[in-house]
Amino acid sequence: MINILSRALMMSTPLLYGSIAEVYAERTGMMVTAIEGIFLMGAWGGFVGAYLSGSLFLGIIVAILAGIITAVSYAWITVYLKQHQVVTGVAINILAVGICSFFMRVIFGVPIIPLTVEPLATIPIPILSQIPVIGPVFFNQNILTYLMYLIIPTAYFILYKTSIGLIIRSTGENPVAVDVAGLTVERIRFIVVLIAGAMGGIAGAFYSIGYIGMFTTNIIGGRGWIAFAICFLGNWNPLGALIGALVFGLAEAIGIYMQSSGGGFFPNELFIALPYILTIVLTITRKSFNVPAQLGVPYKKEN
């Protein structure tokens, strides 16, 4: 049981990085539909960086860079060239798959046995990890999960209690108001998407070097889209995203557990599909949404 909960928290970590990134971007009106590609590039960059340098830390840095590069190309096309966000995102997602498999080949050829790195170790926190139940669940995780504990309250605080947060929220609701206040809508959107790219890169790296220490081109398997959905389900609020990510993390942990314990009554595939089914069910049943009014709409000044 504790094992499942601990695994659930771990699996929700990358989803939280991704969905908080998405929350911030969408609050400025930018639907980051390239998130699946950003995750994948992060996973790939993280693995390649870690494998070649032998350092997981450098791996994460490379993952962040890969995420940023993907996000910047997305932001450039959608923010400055004013192209359609969904179309651009889909194109970049497909491109990411091609880039990853191509450069895997170029760098590593066709290895006989799968390439692996030693994944991020769990770091038990002294004393705290000794607390029954809570200890092993919350304080026996890897560094990225601990970092997440800081990011959630910070993300919430910035969004609702600071001038930057007010600007971000206003940009997605009415960019004209932001423009008239003397701020540059395009720059705000570009920077926020760039930060979202960095976070999405970390999320991707979590899948490759965070716990299995391998990379395949289908490693993300739609989890970028799940993070995308969590943003909606969490009503564009970092705390809502937290709840959403935990639910999906739990579903995934149960799936993995059932898979490894041989399942029993239900077929394995059902549990593997659980997060995806959950996405559909929750999206349909969620009643009221606070969609940012200008979500997905490029900002064009009259003139």
Partner: protein
């Protein structure tokens, strides 16, 4: 004499190749109310947007107290003490009053309590009844404008520019605003307001700049001029408004064409958009509905044309129940509709005039030859309309979006006059048009009435309502406040009705 507070010198601005401002120069002094008067498209908003840093002038300079300034963005303008309130407010509806006011003007952590108190006090000081915690989307338009003004006051603005500030207000709210303008300028601040309403100008301005076709055609002291001179300067030629043609006396007794009987529209959450609306329109009658925009006018139109199903009530056309008829059936029965938002509901901007002409009866046999569209017939017909309505367009094959607003509106009016053999609904038919086009639309309305058609005229412009209507209803929050013969109403009385005060007398 001191140097003027702000001075614009030889400002010229092109939009692609069209000249919007040609060598415009004028100044404003401290404590002065300056009116910028002109028709739509005269370049008033453009010159102000240049002063506010939203547009960049192609040439010319701006001076503040004799010192040359570079204003490249609203931020620069604000730091010089200039604020501009746009015609379409730039507020965030989903945010609170406080959030809107401090947007972009605070740094770091926000102490919400302190700002809410500060803004509450500021509002009190000027007698605005605004709750700093209220969401902007819950406020009526008049109060939203006050939020914009508070935003400027919060920035300690010394020059406040307002673009068509009274367009959305009731006469009482407008009066209120004028009082604020006087109070604000009495302490040495300046106000520029952009308008095309002569009455307002005479009432509040100290000095008047008249603009036409991007150039200045007059810089006059209010005391030295009058409305007749101003209108001549503004239009550049004499305009003869269509003389009011009284309806045939028999219209009174003539048959009822459209009967609206107890129509209510209630949304899911029990908010009623229309509440028990009843009225009749006779044959050969112009029935006007006055009211501040957003009080259910759009819903009335949509109910009649079949786009919105009423929760209760009945609509009869010549005695036949059309409450549940489809949009297409209603078009075929002879109801024409000129919508308020021509870009959204009136035409398809990327299609040609000819294609737009057949938009609403494309399903019929009218335009077909051997089951295919008879392009020649359509083109000839459209060309004849272009001639008859004096539409300034290259021809039937021109794209709708290439035309000016007034010419687009003429095309829609022509189509709907043709569709509406029994009843034509005009919703805000002259909004955003210049006087020439307004005149044309008004003439058309009288002409169609003379043919015995019934007209439903919905407008927020009181002069239009008074000038055209035989009977006038006033709508407020989805309810008819009363139906009156034209002669029974005064501007003051209609203003009170539009603001929700009723008396019990009805016709």
């Amino acid at each position: 004499m001191n140097k003027p507070f702000f001075e614009l010198k030889n400002i010229t601005k092109y939009f692609s190749k069209v000249i919007a401002n040609n060598n415009v120069s004028f100044s404003i002094n401290k404590g002065e109310v300056l009116a910028l008067l002109g028709e739509n498209g005269a370049g008033k908003s453009t010159i102000m947007k240049i002063l506010y840093g939203l547009y960049e002038a192609d040439s010319g300079d701006i001076f503040m107290e004799g010192v040359k300034q570079k204003i490249n963005s609203p931020k620069d303008a604000m730091s010089l003490g200039i604020t501009m309130i746009q015609q379409h407010f730039s507020l965030v509806p989903a945010h609170t009053v406080t959030e809107n006011i401090i947007l972009g003007n605070v740094k770091g952590r926000i102490d919400w309590k302190a700002y809410e108190n500060e803004i509450g006090e500021l509002a009190n000081k000027y007698g605005f009844e605004i709750d700093p915690k209220a969401l902007v989307k819950d406020l009526p338009v008049g109060l939203q404008q006050k939020v914009e003004i508070l935003k400027a006051l919060h920035l300690k603005t010394k020059l406040l520019i307002m673009d068509e500030p009274t367009a959305v207000l009731t006469p009482q709210e407008a009066e209120n605003l004028m009082e604020f303008v006087r109070e604000f300028t009495s302490s040495g601040n300046s106000v520029i307001f952009i308008t095309h309403k002569l009455k307002e100008v005479m009432e509040v301005a100290d000095r008047i700049i008249v603009m036409r076709s991007g150039e200045i055609h007059g810089d006059l002291k209010c005391a030295d001029t009058d409305e007749i001179e101003l209108s001549r300067l503004m239009i550049g030629r004499d305009i003869n408004p269509p003389a009011r043609i009284e309806a045939d006396s028999e219209a009174d007794s003539s048959e009822i064409r459209l009967q609206i009987d107890g129509i209510s529209v209630v949304e899911n959450d029990n908010i009623s958009r229309l509440n028990n609306v009843s009225f009749n329109i006779r044959r050969g009658e112009i029935f006007g509905i006055a009211g501040v925009s957003g009080n259910g006018q759009q819903d009335i139109c949509e109910v009649i044309i079949g786009a919105l199903t009423p929760s209760s009530g009945k609509i009869l056309l010549d005695g036949e129940d059309i409450t549940n008829s489809s949009i297409r059936e209603i078009i075929e029965k002879g109801i024409g509709y000129v919508p308020a938002d021509r870009h959204r509901d009136g035409m398809i901007m990327d299609m040609t005039l000819a294609e737009n002409m057949m938009l609403k009866d494309s399903f019929g046999e009218k335009w077909l030859k051997n089951k295919f569209i008879d392009n020649n017939k359509l083109k000839n017909y459209t060309n004849s309309i272009i001639k008859e309505y004096e539409v300034k367009a290259p021809g039937a094959e021109a794209n709708a979006k290439g035309l000016s607003g007034g010419n687009q509106q003429k095309v829609i009016v022509a189509r709907e006059v043709n569709n509406g053999s029994k009843l034509i609904i005009f919703n805000q038919p002259t909004r955003g048009l210049d006087l020439g086009a307004i005149n044309h639309v008004h003439k058309t309305i009288f002409k169609e009435r003379a043919k015995g058609k019934s007209i439903l005229l919905i407008s927020t412009e009181l002069s239009e309502i008074f000038g055209l209507s035989d009977r006038i209803a006033v709508i407020y929050k989805g309810m008819i406040q009363g139906i009156y013969n034209r002669s029974e109403l005064t501007t003051e009385k209609i203003g009170l009705l539009m603001a929700g005060y009723t008396d019990d007398k009805e016709v």
